[in-house]
């Protein structure tokens, strides 16, 4: 299954490459080119969907690093994103340049994430999930009541991001910024996963007793996973704050945490490609459902109101069907499709 027939490596370094063949690199290049052209041809509503996708990709890949790769379930990811959003927003409000503010947001989220990751020393699985749920609720309370920083229930107005005097003040400009940051986040997680830190994370997930024997400091690496994951989540939050230009406590509630968990489960736990697919799927699905109910309402105007109510139910149903028929996630399906075409037309 590793590589196609006739693919030989002459160095360990070549074998460790993420994209090993010219064909893969060409496909990636074409895909990126397609993405870069998108804002020029799509209308600004569709570009805004793409923008939300980019932010979701960063959030999903960061949660996948913690939950999928290191095996530490977190129900507080939405709140960690919120910490990044408020910290970055406050930083730019105080005149910090945008990029530095983004990193500050990430750093603040990392600190908070590591603090709430301390129980992972003793707690595993479902018990850790409850501990991180507590983090979510505590942080939600803080967002709502620390009014001098978060604006409380009134929310917080944020300016659009500025880089070296260039303002990203519309959807199209914003897309290129978000795409670049998302690409960086994907690269970071990919690199971590193919080096000793990523291997240590997986070893903790798969068999922590052997990981300890191999010399992995369990607590240190769990905290590192919480820190790195929350850092990227904070960056996603910072981008979100500057993109929507308004943040309030409700945005970062438990629903957000759960929808990110849904993304990585649907996409594929422990897979970078899966994170992207899950984020794209979960962002697109409501849009597709809205569009289809709208067009159905045009055809059957009498039952329009019922259709809208039905939309929420269909959303849940689609998720459930996905879990039943694709329990390994979209990434696994993608792998199977690639394997099929690799051998086509001789499947055996």
């Amino acid at each position: 299954m590793h590589g196609k027939c006739g693919l030989f490596f002459e160095s360990y370094r070549a074998e460790a490459a993420v994209f090993q063949t010219g064909f893969q690199r060409t496909c990636l290049g074409l895909f990126v080119a397609l993405l870069l052209v998108c804002p020029l041809v799509l209308d600004s509503y569709l570009v805004s969907v793409l923008n939300l996708m980019c932010i979701a990709v960063i959030g999903a890949v960061s949660l996948n690093l913690l939950t999928g790769v290191c095996g530490q379930i977190s129900l507080g990811h939405g709140a960690f994103i919120g910490v990044g959003a408020y910290a970055a927003a406050q930083a730019t409000l105080h005149g910090v340049p945008f990029l530095a503010a983004l990193l500050l947001g990430g750093g603040a989220a990392a600190l908070v994430g590591m603090f709430f990751g301390v129980p992972s020393l003793r707690l595993k699985g479902i018990y850790l999930a409850i501990a991180t749920l507590a983090a979510q609720l505590i942080l939600e309370y803080v967002f709502l009541h620390w009014e001098s920083v978060t604006g409380g229930s009134r929310g917080l107005m944020v300016d659009p991001p500025q880089l070296f005097g260039f303002a990203f003040d519309n959807e199209r400009k914003m897309f290129y910024l978000l795409l670049a940051v998302a690409a960086c986040a994907l690269m970071v997680v990919t690199n971590v996963m193919r080096t000793r830190h990523g291997r240590a994370f997986v070893s903790i997930r798969d068999f922590y007793l052997s990981a300890e024997i191999a010399g992995v400091n369990l607590f240190g690496y769990k905290l590192a996973a919480f820190g790195l994951s929350s850092f990227l989540a904070g960056v996603a939050g910072g981008l979100w704050a500057h993109y929507t230009m308004f943040i309030s406590a409700e945005q970062f509630n438990i629903t957000l945490s759960i929808s990110y968990l849904a993304m990585i489960i649907i996409g594929g736990l422990g897979s970078v490609v899966g994170s992207v697919m899950g984020a794209v799927f979960m962002t697109l699905l409501p849009e597709v459902l809205t569009a289809s109910t709208r067009s159905l309402t045009g055809i059957f105007p009498d039952i329009g109101s019922q259709l809208v109510a039905l939309r929420e139910g269909v959303f849940g149903l689609v998720l459930m069907l996905f879990l039943i028929f694709e329990p390994e996630g979209l990434a696994n399906r993608w792998r199977l499709i690639k394997a099929y075409w690799k051998l086509y037309p001789f499947a055996h």
Partner: protein
């Protein structure tokens, strides 16, 4: 007891276990266990089920902390160190039930085995630049030696969890060996294997000792193997040392025969 003294003078002990006592909520698992493992030897721990063999291994590797007693590896006090730091002193082990990282490839399992030898930082990891790239290739080269030795090359890139049982046992041995240990603790490496696989494993253990220069502390129930490959045998019963010595002494020891096989019919052990 005179036997131990003469052996100790012949070779320096790599591992010294002195007076280790371990209790779980008042129930004694180990009582005053003491033995030594000499450098370059294969030492076997035997005893009936529940005798405390795995418990003593867990005390050495750091899973359990004994109530009293001392454990030294190469003169270093092991009990002061947390489990993950003992690896750095040259200790590695396998588990009774397979304890592989199922989602990682065989190659990555072995690379995790070398975790304590790879030192580049998180930033190097994130950027995949500098030391990370060079170290990964260098350590990969060492891991390939282990892969060659254990005949794992057909499985190199397969996920460990999908491999046949016998191969998984070999991968686990490989992971322990990849750590370049001075002392390797093997907890029933032949459990559940057929005759052929058992013979292969026995050969690997002898080679690990002779060619790779590691000292072996082995728990095994297959008496034929234990008698054949051990330089020394330590017999545990009810959490304390019943006897220790060369295989021929142990197979002739009436206490051992009584404890291990019941009081009658002791011909089996000398097979």
């Amino acid at each position: 007891m005179t036997q131990i003294k003469t052996m100790a003078t012949k070779t320096t002990p790599l591992l010294e276990v002195k007076g280790v006592t371990l209790t779980f909520k008042g129930i004694a698992a180990l009582t005053d266990v003491g033995f030594s493992v000499e450098k370059g030897r294969i030492v076997s721990l035997i005893g009936p089920n529940g005798a405390g063999k795995t418990s003593i291994l867990n005390c050495i590797s750091g899973r359990y902390t004994p109530d009293s007693g001392e454990i030294y590896l190469d003169g270093q006090d092991m009990l002061r160190l947390p489990a993950h730091k003992r690896t750095g002193l040259g200790l590695s082990r396998t588990f009774q039930n397979i304890a592989l990282f199922k989602g990682l490839s065989v190659l990555d399992n072995l690379m995790v085995g070398r975790h304590h030898l790879i030192h580049y930082g998180l930033l190097s990891s994130i950027l995949y630049h500098g030391r990370a790239v060079a170290d990964e290739a260098a350590h990969r080269r060492r891991v390939e030696d282990v892969i060659d030795f254990l005949g794992l090359s057909p499985y190199r890139h397969q996920a460990a969890g999908h491999l046949p049982y016998g191969v998984q046992k070999r991968v686990e041995l490989g992971r322990a060996l990849a750590a370049e240990p001075k002392l390797i603790l093997l907890d029933e490496p032949m459990a559940g294997m057929n005759l052929e696989e058992t013979e292969d494993m026995a050969r690997y253990i002898l080679d690990i000792c002779e060619e790779w220069g590691a000292t072996v502390l082995l728990i095994e129930h297959d008496m034929g193997v234990v008698m054949d490959i051990s330089d020394k045998i330590v017999v545990l019963d009810f959490g304390s040392v019943l006897a220790q010595g060369r295989p021929d002494e142990i197979s002739a020891n009436q206490d051992v025969i009584a404890a291990y096989l019941g009081t009658e019919d002791a011909t089996f052990i000398g097979r």
